[in-house]
Symmetry: C2
Subunit: 336 residues, 2 copies
């Protein structure tokens, strides 16, 4: 156990071993060897030594020196929801193209955690942060103004001017519900959750507008609203209430994919036919749905584009300036 192996190999270590200065080593390893006119022999010696001893540059030091870490932070609400993991995939992939690494963390929809995470990431000097914000994220205003490089994704927060990338929630919901109406549905329930989030509110508004334009008056008994952290019991209770209140229900609009499967099972258990889902519509979709409910109409969220756009806004601030915020992306509507 040689004492020298205690600390990882540093630039200085290489420099001493090869017999050159740390500057030379730094230049060679960063590919500036030729530019700085380092002899081929020296370059090779340095490279070989680094390679052989598995040199790992200390990014803390490099970041400190350079003032940039080539790292982006991503704060999503949860990892268990495939929607957010897809966002993460998109962000990682797009950031990778520009040589950026992304550190992923989850807020669990908790404003306090969210705030702590943003702070922690700033302390780590990430070059920018992407977040699917909680409704309690208004404090970011100050932070953004102070130079915090933040972009919101999937939803904005009421009263917050931080740049954001969202989808046309109201319009998509409107089109889905209008489609159900065109198919002759009249008693269309809305099954929704997390109503404190602006995107959910927009989807609800789209639902109401579709009814209104079809000359149908809103009926609060058709609204099945489940708390964001509801367990299966609460969901079932709400659905039972809906089925009791509106026994002749003939359509459902889901504002989120998370409630589809519980509803599907709830119906199945009670012998209520769902068919292939022709009488349902949903914002966003999951692979499972294509199997279970191929007849359901959906608004496909442009997840990859959302992630990519958010990364772009962070990396090329120009495009953020040019475009108005929020950036609103269209969903791909699939009517069935």
């Amino acid at each position: 156990m040689s004492a020298s192996s205690r600390r990882p190999l540093s630039l200085r270590g290489i420099a001493d071993a090869v017999g050159v200065s740390t500057a030379t080593v730094s230049w060679v390893l960063s590919g500036q060897g030729d530019a700085k006119g380092i002899s081929a022999a020296t370059q090779k010696k340095v490279q070989d030594f680094a390679q052989a001893h598995n040199y790992r540059p200390n990014m803390l030091a490099r970041g400190l020196s350079l003032g940039t870490t080539k790292t982006l932070g991503l704060i999503i609400s949860s990892l268990s929801d495939p929607f957010y993991s897809s966002i993460a995939k998109a962000v990682v992939s797009e950031a990778g193209k520009s040589g950026y690494t992304v550190m992923i963390a989850t807020s669990e929809s908790d404003s306090e955690k969210e705030r702590a995470l943003v702070s922690s990431m700033h302390c780590r000097r990430v070059d920018g942060i992407i977040v699917t914000p909680t409704e309690g994220a208004a404090w970011m205003e100050k932070d953004t103004a102070a130079g915090g490089n933040i972009v919101l994704v999937d939803r904005s927060v009421s009263g917050l001017s931080t740049p954001s990338v969202v989808v046309d929630n109201e319009e998509s919901a409107f089109r889905l519900v209008s489609h159900l109406l065109k198919k002759g549905r009249r008693k269309i329930a809305i099954v929704t959750t997390a109503h404190n989030l602006v995107n959910m509110q927009a989807r609800h508004a789209g639902y109401e507008r579709a009814l209104r334009e079809a000359g149908i008056e809103a009926n609060s008994r058709l609204v099945c609203q489940v708390p964001p952290d509801a367990d299966i019991r609460q969901i079932n209770a709400e659905l039972d209430r809906l089925l009791r209140d509106v026994p002749d229900l003939d359509g459902i609009f889901f504002t989120s994919h998370v409630l589809v499967l519980p509803t599907y099972v709830h119906f199945a258990e009670r012998g209520i036919p769902t068919g292939r889902g022709e009488q349902w519509a949903c914002m966003h979709t999951l692979p499972d749905f294509e199997l279970l409910l191929p007849g359901m109409s959906i608004a496909q969220m442009p997840i990859f584009e959302m992630g990519a756009r958010a990364v772009d806004m962070l990396l090329h601030k120009s495009s953020a300036k040019e475009g108005a915020s929020p950036v609103i992306l269209p969903c791909k509507i699939e009517l069935r």
Copy 2:
């Protein structure tokens, strides 16, 4: 736009503003004010200024100075699989208890990406790395020997002595299949994937042992093996092959939760009754299964404990020394 707001506030900035040395500021802000005998007045001045100006300590500098970052790296195969996200949750939660942050990344089951991620995390000087390894992770041997602080989770890699936390795959599979046999099933298929991973191999071995001990000879036509990256078509083709080869199939053992739903749908589409899943058994489970297939027997993976244990091994190297590796945790078997 004051020039002074260009760079974020530093210790030096606070020191100059308050009129003390950086040492004093550092001590106050790290809670050593009293220990170092800093006057209450000075402490308050420093704290107030830091607070008011939203001081964010530069963790790069701190990490560089301290030689530790209080950060753990986590590399999971994928984000879309709830199994891995649960592991992530467990790791984050357990690490948090000790004041550690975790940076999450995904290898997408790609050995090259995995290697790059481990390297990148080492460069960032994380204090340890937890990884659900690909089969191509044998190079870690060298890395671990070189002081790399790595713990594998969910599976080990053949020929790799890196510490790991796994479950008793063989035994759990054995018990599940034995249960199906006890219920009178005789033609039990095994539906499996990613057979290059040792845990999948162990589950397969448990299946075979159960058959053997029941005096049933192995039948290769009962083996339905799907490539890890198979799309729904390939899966369906394999299932069709199985149903054709073994029309009187009367049970299925799934080595992984990922294949259950596609099989369920495949059967449903062909009008093959699955009942409540009584004739099926599966390693691991998902919330959906409890809804769709409440009769299916399952081996519940101790996900939280796995994550927690891995973190412990990283943080208190002692317990890693003491315990033999791999650490093998039992599954909670639920026979139905």
